[in-house]
């Protein structure tokens, strides 16, 4: 199953992760490019991360002890900056 990452958009996958064999609690995916990109969901294994980095996406894994909200806001600010430059 796929999910379209629109240009200059970001998503936290959260519920799209099957947590059985996945080391992170959440993933923030940022599309900083000007083209839409399809990502594969659900996420089952950590190999998903390099595979999707190869598509040109920024993938930020969020651990159980990380502060999700601050990581999200940081990524959001970076994306806003890139959007403003374009």
């Amino acid at each position: 199953m796929k999910f379209v990452m629109r240009p200059y958009h970001m998503v936290s996958l959260g519920g799209y992760i099957v947590e059985w064999d996945f080391p992170y609690r959440n993933i923030i995916v940022v599309n900083k490019t000007s083209e839409p990109i399809k990502i594969e969901i659900p996420v089952f294994h950590k190999e998903w991360i390099p595979e999707h980095k190869d598509l040109g996406l920024e993938v930020i894994p969020v651990d159980k002890n990380d502060n999700f909200l601050s990581m999200w806001k940081r990524a959001h600010a970076e994306l806003d900056k890139i959007k403003a430059e374009k």
Partner: protein, 332 residues
Amino acid sequence: MFENILTNPIVAVILTVLVCFIISMFLPGIERKYVHARIQQRIGPIVIAPGIMAPLKFMFKENVEVSSPVPGLYKALPIVCFIVVLCVLIALTPEAYKIPALASLVSIVGFLKVEEICYVLMGALSKSIMSVRMPFPDKIKGAVHNNSNLSFIEDISARRSLRMITYGSFPLYLALFAPVTAARSIFLGDIVAYQQIHGPFLFTVAGGIAAVVFFIGYMIILNEYPFSIIKAKSDVIEGPYMEYAAKYRAVVVITRGFFMFVLGAVFSVLFIGVPPTIFSWGILVNIAVALIFVVMMGIFSAFVPVFTNRQLLPTILGTTLLGILAIVIGLL
């Protein structure tokens, strides 16, 4: 003078066609209200809603411009279908028997074939937004098969219509020719005359079998459940009719009701020997047959799911064999 006008064949045909057309507009409502709704234990629409109110409503709707490579032809096709059905009815009237080229089985089959070809053309010419044209980023980075050929869902419908022409409507045509085995003529006048002397073909063994085959063929050509694969909601949605809106949709709706009546009249002529004319009480037989067919079709379609190719092929094959059996028995 008034009698002279009435006995004028052209006026007689026009009056007959008008009466039949008005009655035909009630048929979809009867099917929906008194058959489907009753079986499904719901109130259903008012009886004039599907056949009269709906086309009237569509007439006054704003049209949506179709997305077709040949929009003129696409929009003309429902009108062609209506004219074809009209021609079939005219061919059935006693006044037409004086023109053998028109009032013969060959012309009836020809008209019905035109109707079927229209479905193919409608499907091939419709390019609705429901599939390829939907503005959705399908072929992008990360997607599978970014170089695949694309087909509209109406393309599948057109291919299915083509298949129906080649084998799907075969049972109906076999049933049409079954009375010829008794009357030994393909002209409607001879078939009617034979039955008026020897009794209805329906009440013979061959006629009984052929009537069953005719009924199944009737449902197939009307694209009614379960034989509605060319407009199956589960994949091709409305199929060939997808892009018809406003007045074009009105013509489609009117044609369907009219076609139901005319096919009933075909049966009355070929199997009972009663042609449609307002100058004879026999027209009541035509109306009764049309109603019986509609009710039977409604009952049958309410209790079966749509057939896919897996069920359709054996059903059509079985019906075709029955049709052949009817003809063989008729010949013997």
